[in-house]
Symmetry: none
Subunit: 223 residues, 2 copies
């Protein structure tokens, strides 16, 4: 799960990013609308959080701009401009939800879940693979209905692979699923996660195997 946060208050952005991280959500953050356009071109986000007052313009203008490129990524507007009239304006421009500042992270999470639930692309509310059922929104994995507790990063790798089981997943796709731009890695951390994950999957008899496609990425197969 990866989202884009467009917000100019750095403190709020950092707090949000940390809080969302605890829910297994990887957040990219930008302050400027221009960068946001660029980022959405290069990445497929699951949702976008959008402020209105931004240094280079009204955030709402981003919505039609994004839609014009054919993307219907869910957008939640986060703003202090919270008059009923302003809310209507935002929603009519194509925002999926509108949340006034200040807000509780828990409410934002709930709204995110609601918005994603409605999003047809992400019918991934429950991913099944082998004997596993993965619930990425609630950060849980079960094997034959027995809960399995995994470290957060391993869980993210697992979910990213299981979501595309029987397909090769690019190395870079996996990295994008687990790390944001600020969390650069300069080692084989991903390989290490895969390694430990494999061991665990064998231990519990998960009914899946992770294969390597040399020079390309990884592939999860059911047994």
């Amino acid at each position: 799960m990866r989202i884009l946060l467009i917000e100019d208050e750095r403190e709020l952005a950092e707090a949000l990013s940390a809080a969302l991280g605890k829910h297994g959500i990887v957040t990219d953050h930008t302050v400027h609308l221009v960068d946001a356009v660029e980022l959405t071109r290069q990445n497929l986000y699951d949702a976008i959080l959008l402020d209105r007052r931004l240094p280079d313009g009204e955030g709402l203008s981003f919505i039609p701009e994004l839609r014009r490129t054919g993307k219907d990524t869910p957008i939640i507007v986060l703003t202090a401009r919270n008059e009923p009239k302003e809310r209507i304006e935002g929603l009519d421009l194509g925002a999926d939800d509108y949340l006034g500042k200040p807000f509780l992270v828990e409410e934002l999470m709930a709204r995110l879940r609601a918005v994603l639930r409605r999003s047809p692309e992400l019918a991934e509310l429950k991913i099944t693979a082998g004997r596993m059922v993965i619930d990425p929104l609630h950060l849980s994995v079960t094997v034959d209905a027995v809960p399995l507790d995994l470290p957060r990063r391993e869980l993210l790798v697992l979910a990213a692979l299981a979501r595309r089981k029987e397909q090769t997943v690019l190395r870079s796709t996996l990295e994008a699923a687990v790390y944001n731009y600020e969390e650069e890695i300069q080692s084989n951390a991903l390989d290490a996660h895969i390694s430990r994950l494999r061991k665990r999957l064998i231990d519990v008899g998960a009914g899946v195997a992770i294969h390597n496609i040399r020079g390309v990425g990884y592939l999860m197969k059911e047994e």
Copy 2:
């Protein structure tokens, strides 16, 4: 147990919220119908307490509105408009109970219990875990039929975990089960409750253990 109170007399609302709190019920309070609609969209309440005269309209109009969204959350109307004709009106619109002001909190509690007893979703009238039996409506826990008295917040944590035993419960879910929107916590209060609860559970041999899932939440397992 979490309920929504829609009521415009602030004093009454605060008193009620406090009184219900003593019965282990977490109360979200709002004055406006618009907010109520929003809140029910984002939260799953166990019941709703509804006033009739509200600043933005007749409270009763909320009932069909809620039902239309597919929720059959029990609703108790609390109002000074207590003529027989008015009561019939309320109940026919889909309210589960109708209580005239002024009333005794004890009566409200009893009616709440009655209404919840009928509610099929909450087959959680008795939660069993290990050697414990928890009755969240009467705020009691027994271990091998011996009553155990726990501080209120610890009990709420316990019930929230026991209700989802063998499953990972997100930290945020636990917080939502114990605190309402106004009671923000900025410390490790939850951890402290868990810690003290664990000690007690061991002392009495409750037959359950609370495990931590690092970065995610907690998990109750039976032994």
